[in-house]
Point group: C2
Chain length 141, copies 2
DNA sequence: TACAATGTTGTAATGATTACATATATGATT
DNA sequence: AATCATATATGTAATCATTACAACATTGTA
């Protein structure tokens, strides 16, 4: 059993060929891909893969905490195999999603809301990445 | 011109009857309603209102910073007439969305990512509100 | 009034996601 | 190996939020 399969087993997920391929893809591509990106990229090596299987598998992975979902992009859900707590920045020009650090202390509590039971924290930043800032400046000249 | 119309004008939005009604609804209902909630609640008093108008108006309001959009609920976009920086908690059981304070310092910078230009920050918490925690406990007994 | 510009409405199209029925794979038991 | 039960994968159709678009209405101005 390979590394990815063991990873799935450690999350109580039975490792099928499709599940291994999708989990492996997420671990090797920390780019926060959409369902369609995953599907289209895997299709050449898995010609029988179904879009439904990608949806099903991503749901299984999420239910067993093997990935997190990002709703930073209002058009598509994005998926992230990195389940360590971290925040995300999305560039409104190029669309890239970058990992960023979660500010210290944010995991502790919600000020004034101690009675809430918190299961998940999502911190999203939106704006312009450095490359796109430079492009905008060049266009102005 | 009433208070709501003046509010729209101050955001460079021409105040039509529909825009006033929708903006007023958002200011009087800090419940982070969905498009359909707004549409269905306004319909009795505005029988000719179109769902498209609600969509169009909400886009105009957002483009002119008269509201913010929340993607905390993956099913529907939610709208918030309170544009002061604040965070949100959504209960996975009852679906209510609560306002919470934004932790101090979070507006300052992204640690290690000073080169990014940040236009918006969204901080979402998910979990169980107090009422739903109690309900779950009662069901266990 | 005439006219142009802006805003509204209803319907149709889009596109992501889900439901569902069928097919395939897996794993245990005989 | 053959049987059987269960889990997983596939393809198609349905759902549903959102957007596109064209026709209609309103507003303001000359
Ligand atoms: Mn990430
Ligand atoms: Mn709010
Ligand atoms: Zn960029
Ligand atoms: Zn609740």
């Amino acid at each position: 059993m390979n590394r990815t399969a063991q990873h799935l087993v450690s999350h109580n997920i039975k490792p099928s060929a499709q599940r291994i391929a999708i989990m492996k893809y997420l671990m090797e591509h920390p780019t926060h891909p959409s369902v369609d990106k995953i599907y289209c990229d895997l299709l050449p090596d898995m010609p029988t893969l179904s879009r439904t299987t990608v949806y099903n598998t991503l749901r299984v992975l999420e239910e067993n905490d093997a990935l997190i979902t990002l709703n930073i992009d209002s058009k598509n859900v994005r998926y992230d195999g990195n389940v360590m707590p971290h925040a995300h920045f999305m560039c409104r020009s190029c669309g890239k999603i970058y990992d960023t650090a979660l500010p210290e202390g944010i995991l502790k509590e919600i000020p004034g809301m101690e009675t809430f039971q918190i299961d998940a924290i999502k911190l999203y930043y939106k704006g312009l990445c450095q490359e796109c800032q430079e492009k905008e400046n060049n266009n102005k000249e």
